[in-house]
């Protein structure tokens, strides 16, 4: 018998019952909760008179609506009354149902996908869900993690299970070593450029190969974060010593005897050498350049040394029209060199790139330099209160503010502009987030996805530039 993939191993360990109709009831070990996709789920429970099946499996924090400026007034400081109500509703629901919540004024508050791993609430081998598509992030720990809708959030709250059909499996192997200045973000953008945004639909993707193994846990989280942009609900990376070292000692991680037991079990959390994937894609790490998106879908991406693609060269009708629409929206002309495109705002943050390593990479570029005069706003938004604190201890905040960046409080911020941080129509942004959809960062706003170092470089130069020109 052929060996098993990592996905199949975790799947098998979590089947509560085979429904006999192509679906299984899958046990969920951890649910993360935030204010946007949970109110209707709590309301559903309330209406049906149901309780949470396992209160301790849930962990909540507000992130999407929280202001990133002064927090001293707490919830009362959220100016938009509708945003405020949503955060208040989360507080009330968590209190009523007994769910642990890191509230707005808690130093542990942050973007839900940052705090799960930071707290050790995300562990290898777990099934992790959250009403948010970027739950794929947690797969970096060798967990099966995916986003769900609000009906499913309610289902997990009530039953600790989900009805699921098995995904197909895909291995994306990034072989060899990346060049200088290439980060996890460039790797994943290059992957999406290759597979397309629908390439992973129906699959659980495992990322492997030397270049993935060489990444830190932060880097692996960045890659898995964007599995959803490749169309896959779940992305994952095998467990190794780095995973275990990262988890050890975190507040929610097992301790003592339990830790030893867990580590022993986690040793098996990798695909067997003879496991069969439904699809295998190989990518040469050395071929990856610093990436910049040019369109309104993450697959519309090129190296910074390239030009804006010309729709005239696209043979597929639907794709060509899509390109024309995108260029129109982005206010770009085909064949413009990417490094001649100037930007108005810079955003460093989001669940893709707001961890300490991202802060350090951006600070390295910003250090001793000044934000270009054409930049109206350069924002750095750490992913959690604890990251903010650590960065401040390392003096990174000072580097940023000296260079002319704003240093903010943790949250989703301008990744989706649900709070006050947003683009004005036609403003162009170098952003470390994960989606460049129309209007994502503000109606009419134009988003280019890049790595933290590339975003910082764009802030300093005022236009896109190969980060290697600034770090030698």
């Amino acid at each position: 018998m052929a060996g098993k993939t990592l996905y199949e191993k975790i799947w098998d360990q979590h089947v509560v019952r085979d429904n006999g109709d192509g679906t299984a009831l899958l046990y969920i070990d951890r649910q993360l909760v935030h204010e946007v996709t949970s109110p209707q789920a709590f309301e559903g429970l309330r209406l049906a008179g149901r309780k949470l099946w396992r209160v301790d499996a849930n962990l909540a924090t507000p992130d999407h609506n929280v202001p990133t400026t002064d927090r001293s007034k707490g919830i009362a400081g959220i100016e938009d009354p509708i945003s405020r109500l949503q955060v208040e509703t989360l507080d009330q629901n968590c209190a009523e149902f007994g769910v642990t919540e890191f509230k707005m004024d808690d130093i542990r508050q942050g973007i839900v996908h940052v705090i799960g791993p930071e707290q050790g609430a995300t562990l290898p081998g777990m099934t992790v869900v959250c009403g948010d598509s970027h739950t794929s992030t947690h797969g970096a720990f060798g967990a099966l993690a995916h986003g769900i809708g609000t009906s499913e959030v309610e289902h997990v709250m009530a039953t600790q299970t989900l009805v699921q059909s098995k995904s197909k499996t895909m291995l994306i192997s990034v072989n060899g070593e990346v060049n200088a200045g290439i980060t996890a973000k460039d790797i994943v953008l290059a992957i999406i450029g290759e597979t397309g945004t629908a390439g992973g639909t129906g699959y659980a993707i495992e990322f492997g190969g030397d270049a993935i193994k060489a990444l830190s846990m932060e880097g692996r989280m960045t890659v898995c974060n964007m599995a959803i942009e490749a169309g896959a609900r779940a992305g994952m990376v095998a467990v190794d010593q780095k995973t275990i070292d990262y988890v050890e000692g975190r507040p929610y991680a097992p301790k003592g005897e339990q830790w030893d037991l867990a580590v022993k079990a986690w040793a098996d959390l990798h695909s067997d050498a003879d496991a069969k994937f439904d699809e295998v894609i190989n990518i040469d790490a050395a071929s990856i350049k610093p990436q910049v998106t040019w369109g309104t879908s993450p697959e519309m991406v090129v190296g910074v040394d390239q030009k804006v693609p010309d729709p005239a060269n696209e043979k597929d009708d639907v794709k060509r029209e899509g390109m024309v629409t995108a260029l129109n929206y982005m206010g770009l002309t085909a064949n413009t060199p990417m490094n001649e495109i100037s930007v108005d705002k810079v955003f460093i943050g989001s669940c893709t790139n707001s961890r300490i390593e991202d802060m350090r990479a951006a600070a390295e570029v910003a250090k001793g330099r000044q934000v270009a005069s054409n930049i109206k706003l350069a924002l750095v938004v750490p992913g959690s209160g604890l990251i903010k604190k650590q960065a401040e201890e390392e003096g990174l905040d000072k580097i940023f503010t000296d260079a002319g960046f704003e240093w903010r409080e943790p949250g989703c911020s301008m990744c989706l502009a649900m709070n006050a941080d947003r683009l004005e129509p036609q403003e162009r942004c170098a952003s470390t987030s994960n989606r460049n959809f129309e209007g994502r960062q503000g109606q009419g706003g134009r988003t280019h996805l890049v790595s933290p170092a590339m975003a910082a470089a764009a802030a300093i130069k005022g236009h896109f530039v190969d980060v290697n020109e600034l770090i030698k």
Partner: protein, 211 residues
């Protein structure tokens, strides 16, 4: 959940690939703590010329006359035909809520994003995947005939065109069953409470750090 059995209705075309859930229902409307009332803001940024906000009266807002759903001939459409990877991006269930609230009960496309796919069925929307060339023909038919209708029959898994020709479609058995009967997932799972408890007992012995 409402049942879905069959529907004969006007078809509207959404002729672009990768329509994402941010476009279907922009983020400012996600601040609602309710499940209903999203219809007037479906495709808000494409549909109106001004900026929409929750709580704003939509009746007097300037319409983008070029946007497909604002064309009179598609008034009352309940079937949407679309291009590949429809519903990609954010997992927001507000997207199917908005589509349903607007009136769409069936969406036909070459492919759908995974999370959107399951979210839609959970809300009683039938998603049908057809080959791209079959869909291309539907786009042509819709463009050529004002008031173009299709008849969708879930039990028999058929779409019948005005000329009487029939397109067969596939759908997972379990999704079909739930939709036809309007079954509540949580209620169904609750029938297996003993299995869940047995699993927890077994698993907590094997992996105690998870409990």
């Amino acid at each position: 959940m409402e049942k879905f059995t069959s529907l004969k209705a006007i078809v509207a075309p959404m002729d672009r690939p990768n329509v994402d859930t941010d476009a279907i229902i922009p983020k400012q409307f996600l601040k609602s703590i309710k499940r209903s009332g999203f219809g007037p803001n479906l495709f808000d940024e494409w549909r109106y010329l001004d900026h929409g906000e929750p709580g704003k009266d939509n009746s007097g807002r300037p319409l983008n006359e070029e946007f497909i759903l604002n064309q009179k001939r598609y008034n009352g459409a309940q079937i949407l035909i679309a291009r590949e990877n429809f519903g990609c991006g954010s997992s927001r269930e507000h997207a199917p809520w908005a589509l349903l609230d607007y009136g769409f009960q069936v969406i036909i496309a070459p492919s759908f994003a995974d999370i959107f796919y399951s979210n839609s069925f959970k809300n009683g929307i039938l998603l049908i995947k057809l080959d791209a060339d079959v869909i291309e023909q539907l786009f042509n038919d819709v463009a050529a005939n004002e008031g173009y209708e299709l008849a969708v029959d879930l039990e028999n898994q058929t779409i019948t065109k005005a000329d009487g020709s029939v397109i067969k479609f596939d759908v997972d058995e379990f999704r079909k069953h739930r939709l036809l009967n309007g079954l509540d997932d949580i209620g169904l799972t609750m029938q297996h409470v003993d299995d869940i408890k047995a699993y927890e007992q077994r698993r907590s012995a094997e992996a105690p750090w998870l409990f």
